[in-house]
Symmetry: C2
Subunit: 338 residues, 2 copies
Amino acid sequence: MDERLRKPRIDDVARRAGVSTATVSRALATPDQVKPKTREAVEKAVLETGYVLNVAARNLRTNRTHAVLAVVPDVANIFFSLVLRGISDTLHQHGYRLVIADTGNDPERERDHAEFAQAGWVDGLLLLNGRLLPAPTGGRRRLAVPTVSLCERIPGSDIPYVETANREAARAMTERLLQLGHRRIGYVSGPPNNILEHDRFAGYRDALAARGLAPDPALVCPGDYTLATGEAAATAYLSLAELPDAVFASNDAMAMGLIRGFTAAGLSVPEAISIAGFDDIEFAGAYNPALTTVHQARSEIGARATTMLIDLIEGRQLASREVHLPAEIVMRDSTRER
Amino acid sequence: MDERLRKPRIDDVARRAGVSTATVSRALATPDQVKPKTREAVEKAVLETGYVLNVAARNLRTNRTHAVLAVVPDVANIFFSLVLRGISDTLHQHGYRLVIADTGNDPERERDHAEFAQAGWVDGLLLLNGRLLPAPTGGRRRLAVPTVSLCERIPGSDIPYVETANREAARAMTERLLQLGHRRIGYVSGPPNNILEHDRFAGYRDALAARGLAPDPALVCPGDYTLATGEAAATAYLSLAELPDAVFASNDAMAMGLIRGFTAAGLSVPEAISIAGFDDIEFAGAYNPALTTVHQARSEIGARATTMLIDLIEGRQLASREVHLPAEIVMRDSTRER
DNA sequence: TTTCGATTTGTAATCGATTACATTTTTTTC
DNA sequence: GAAAAAAATGTAATCGATTACAAATCGAAA
């Protein structure tokens, strides 16, 4: 191949600078191990040759990639966006890169990524999907890849995690609704078997119990975190003999669904009924009416988990393996005093 | 190191299966070049040893990574979520992986990623930020990395791109508003110097001109794609002697801002004024009222661009280097007949 | 059975960096 | 100015796969 087209290698630079490849490598990676004069010569040669190192060669030799894989069930899910930003920013600060695997909750895709993580494609793993990557086929024991789980802890595993203190947050929100004078407080749940959902519902009951109130099963509607189930829940409530004073939905999309459902039926929110959500996604504040909700510090969850992962990768001890970040109750216009 | 802990290599498998490393490599990569019996022996040995190939070694040898880098100005921007999903799905179908670089519009970060792309960290580049990655320092000519731009073409470059036919779409939406009987149609713009904005505004004027209407400068409000500027625009319109009949915002967030602004002032949408947006982000349909808007086929934009990139990477000719996808006008509840 | 071609397998070079260790150069100390 | 210590540089092995080329094996045809 034509010399001018061939990609320059480290020895092209070395030759041009009149030094050895070892020196070039050091001048680039650990500049202060090299005499200033030599360093300049190397830098000049790099510029002249247009040298760029070969990542694969370095990775092979050092057995490091400086990349981290985030396993996300759905990149298009608005909830993850800010978490990813927190991850991305933190990684960048520490000189790491982000690889994203959108699994679509498909086990086959999860397996594939688990395999690649093992293959040294990344230095660490961030699991946002609330479950372990499946062990690669052929159960032989493997050297573990550093892993942190976030948003949702993984029950029955000892993987370090970062999540919102869901139970406490749900309890706090329910208490706020009680303080506003509401007594018949409905609850729209997320999918069963979901650990987040479990925690949030527990928080809701905690608050009621603290007031000596038993949760009324008729006021608890099943949902699955989609807008549609929120609308359906509104319909269900409307068929009750007596409407609830307020409804707490375990995420924002369902809260919006409730608002749409009630509004469509001619009930205005918050005049006729108060609605609260959970998550504080982007458009909660922009909604009409602006949504009262539980603010999860999503980018901070991402940032904290990433810091922990980097500690793990670089062999430092973790201060704590289980982090519960407090959430903030944000009162907006979808709730009011009774 | 203890034999049982050391990561097994291809020659461990070869020894165990009683074949050469070449055969193992072939059995794994191109199974039908290998006798079924040998293949089975290799597969057995792989399972027994727990072998996983070393990605860096393969990448070094083959000079391929089967990974693609998507350069995004902001992963947390809801607009990109679905585009990323389209990218991710398509890549997966073709056996590629996704690396995401969130640049935060920071040129330094962009430079860094450009460098890494050159370094063979990925096989191709997907630019979602509407600009070229800066040429690495030291202007020497480089071998180009296959690149496709999407969502926003890059003016003054010949990089293949995929985008929505913005001008035609904006024109179509404006025409719909005219059909509904509206004549005083306001427009809230995106940031100046933005190529998308330029196209959309042109479409708006096209439609008016086709009816012999001149755009009234008083009805054109500056915005920057944020909710806040939408609200500000509502305030500005309210101070006019005569309100517009309808307002077309060049994205959904601003349209929502308009609705909030007008609603807060006691004007109801669409009774008092019709509002239309652009993009059809997730919550446009969930908004209250549900937003009339221009639906961009975001995941398809991602998918098409990705297909083109893979063609480029694998050395196939591109059928067309400039793809304009049609958009769909979605009439919902924020507009009505005059 | 022999021969020829096709199929399967093996040998060993190669990708391009990093780094242990050895060697040389420079600096410090007395 | 010599010896010792420290700093800078060089030599060459190494990371773990792929693959060109050579060699061996197999099957079919004669």
